[in-house]
Amino acid sequence: MQMRLRVWRQKNRDTQGSLVDYAVDDVSSEMSFLEMLDVLNERLAGEGDDPIAFDHDCREGICGTCSLMINGQAHGPNRATTTCQLHMRSFEDGDTIRIEPWRAAAFPVLKDLVVDRAPLDAIVQAGGYISVNTGSAPDANLIPIGKPVADRAMDAAACIGCGACVAQCPNGAGQLFTAAKVSQLALLPQGKPERTKRVRSMVATMEDYFGSCSNFGECEAVCPKEISLDFIAVMNREYVRAALVSDPGD
């Protein structure tokens, strides 16, 4: 396959960037999207050019490191797929593919396609944990938790924190990520004691960086882990509850 790429190139966070055209020949349909970029980078390095910087790590869809806005969609055209799990067979020979970094005020571009996603860490640091000392692993069934509840919490916990939700949201909102992190704990008994403080603190941190939710649903559509918009309602309910109660110790 022959691909035409329009790639965002930017030297560092202080310089202006622009879209640069590249032609890549000898692309196999079995290559992953990142392998296709590897091929281009080998060539660029061989020609003495600066290779295109992009984030990647596990390349098996579980680490949340890869990003890329591919033809205006976070992680590309396939649903429930990270960029590393996207393959060139999803494209036609001769296609032009536009590759841009995540765009958000909170995600400054560091170089080319690499952005700083530290605000997502700040949200987790604000309350995405439980403070009890758990010691060694307890017996699995010591605290009875119904299967539907456990499954629901697990659905929220599937979030890999890639930031596609923010990148795709027309409002640049961080609701889906924050909701997943609030919900995975709020749904379980271990998370209940700190629920009031947690939701207040995580929402406040989220609003320091991101936009406001309009319930467009674009986030859940591009989420590689298919985190449901329903979790945003869970977070909102937690937040309303926190606004109405005054827990001791808050």
Binding site: G172, G211, F216, D230, A233, Y239
Partner: protein, 222 residues
């Protein structure tokens, strides 16, 4: 209340609550106006009743004014929140994509802001037309039936009302669903019904409201 207003999530809760109030008004307004099909006496009596209800416990027009002040406050909170949240979201995405490809964005959801502005401007016109009569060529105070019929007999005005109802229906279609999210009203058993309920209520309000100008234009109500 003030606590909620400090955060964006809280502002959305206030928008949902005020939106629910305004929806209640819109639905009641439509249902009340169905009295036009019972003839001039019934409609005008209903219009008078709105002023008299509650008396003598409250003065003439008292309940009506309490409702008006409540609605005005709701409109104020709704619009101010929307304005501030829009500014917040614009700031969150200073550098746009070459082209953002939407996946499941609906027309109703992405026109909430400007659609809301259109609805608000229409409401102002509607008040000047059929409440104050300042934009009505043949306004008779106290004769609601005559004012509606004479008003809608002007074709461009009727068409404008119908277009405004399209904007209102779209706004309600996304807004009514969205308020379930903002208030955290979700449960696996009601989730499939939320969008359907919103669509159904938007359709009910739309059909009821556009029936009035259509009935006048076709001579069904004269």
């Amino acid at each position: 209340m003030l606590n909620l207003y400090r955060s964006a999530v809280g502002k959305k809760v206030l928008m949902a609550l005020t939106g629910l109030m305004l929806f209640g008004f819109v639905l009641g307004h439509m249902v009340g106006n169905l009295k036009i099909y019972q003839g001039p006496e019934k409609l005008n009596a209903y219009a008078e009743w709105l002023r008299e209800v509650g008396s003598p416990a409250v003065p003439h027009g008292g309940v009506l004014w309490i409702a008006r002040i409540g609605l005005l406050a709701a409109v104020g909170i709704h619009i101010l929140s929307a304005w501030q949240l829009t500014r917040m979201s614009r700031k969150a995405r200073p550098h746009d994509y070459a082209k953002l490809e939407s996946v499941q964005l609906t027309y109703a959801s992405r026109t909430m802001r400007w659609g809301g502005v259109i609805v608000a401007l229409f409401v102002v016109y509607h008040l000047m037309h059929l409440t104050w009569g300042s934009l009505h060529s043949d306004f008779i105070p106290g004769d609601a039936y005559h004012n509606v019929v004479a008003g809608f007999q002007v074709l461009p005005i009727s068409l404008f009302y119908i277009v405004a109802q399209v904007a209102l229906a779209l706004h309600l279609n996304h807004g009514l669903w969205s308020l379930f999210q903002s208030l955290g009203w979700n449960h696996p058993s009601i989730n499939p019904w939320r969008r359907r309920l919103a669509g159904a209520f938007a359709a009910i309000v739309f059909i009821g409201n556009v029936s009035f100008p259509i009935a006048v234009l076709t001579g069904l109500v004269a």
